[in-house]
């Protein structure tokens, strides 16, 4: 999947992955896709709940070699 912006939070603990993702999302225009990378297991549930709460679209998420990847589209 092609992302317009990549937010790399590998090695960071809560709340930083979502703090960084939010900052990036604020700069994006509708339709753009953000890819968030995280190594924090807690971010899996939190990021999904956050995207739902701010009413954006979580296109997909996956895990690869201990890195969680989330694709979020700004609506």
């Amino acid at each position: 999947m092609q992302a317009d912006i990549i937010v790399d939070t590998k090695g960071m603990a809560c709340p930083m992955p979502i703090v960084r993702a939010k900052k990036a999302l604020d700069t994006m225009t509708p339709g753009q896709v953000m890819e968030v990378l995280s190594t924090d297991k807690g971010s899996v549930n939190d990021l999904q709940a956050w995207v739902k709460q701010i009413k954006q679209e979580l296109i997909q998420h996956e895990v690869e070699d201990g890195v969680y990847k989330f694709y979020v589209r700004k609506l």
Binding site: C14, P15, I18, V19, K22, N45, D46, A49, Q53
Partner: protein, 382 residues
Amino acid sequence: MNASAGIKGMTSKELTRRILAKEDLFILDVRNENDYNDWRIEGERIVSLNIPYFELLDGVDNALEQIPANMKLLVVCAKEGSSMFVAEQIADAGRTNVHYLEGGMKSWSEHLEPVFIGELQDGGAVYQFLRLGKGCLSYMIVSGGEAAVIDAARMTDRYMAFAQARGITIKHVLDTHLHADHISGGRQLAERTGAAYWLPPKDAEEVTFAYEKLEDGRDITVGRAVIRIQPVYSPGHTIGSTSFVVDAQYLLTGDILFIESIGRPDLAGRAEDWVGDLRDTLYDKYKELSPELLVLPAHYGKMSELGEGGKVMARLSDLYRHNPGLNLQEEEAFRRAVTENLPPQPNAYEEIRQANMGKIKPTEEEQREMETGPNRCAVHDQ
């Protein structure tokens, strides 16, 4: 983040003391809603509120409106970072008496608090190790400089430090049954202290290590004062479940009988088969024991089961009067109560059983992950 904000850390130990002392505390739990609904810190005088930290990134006004300014505030999250982040904002907004839980729920789930239960007839004592974060109870029976530890949690350092501080040698480590809700520390504690590790043979058919067999009539002696730990074969929660009569005073019931509930028979996938065993144990076998025995279970489900100073204990005769699980006279009603509408099974219970049998060897981080959440070993838990 303003690291110099006036917030203070609160340890799990301090939180435990406050809960046992029934002090007022307001908890703002900033984990996501599912985690909060599944498992949270409870106490008689605790008021708790859940607002996920990601709803407080733009400011904490929404939280401030709901937090009374005159109460001590504790902000809690999974590990620590998010609670500090939120607590600092609350302190920056002018609030005082703002704390965060050091190590978060991870550390909370691992704290063990020793509670003195009572003395033994010929000197010696029984201590209950309260794991408030999970509702698990373990025990240390001490006499003549020796000790037996029963249903040890995996935080084996705690028992060793407790024994060492009192010049006690741990000689025996016992598990009442093969646990499904938490990783047993029994085997590790026995290895580290050179103690004998005892298990019920019927629960241990698949274990990958050597152990001593807990059997009816095979008494275990602790100390010079001859504190007899007399095993009572009491199947139901698991087929091998074994209770212990200690010093003719205490009945350690494992996960068979709790204060306000009874054990569930379904965690090894054999509910229907074991209903009859559970009923025999509760309605016949325990009836043959002295009604004066003080019951010490391996779990509690509700905060109301904690008595004075945090003791989880009740006289057997009182339980026969008040415990709903001991007052289902119709066999059919009993069968339904222990097989239908059971609470969800504990997190990763099948993997936990495998680990306790020595079949899988999870890392410490994986063990922590497997144990997340409440124990849910009783039929009435939630």
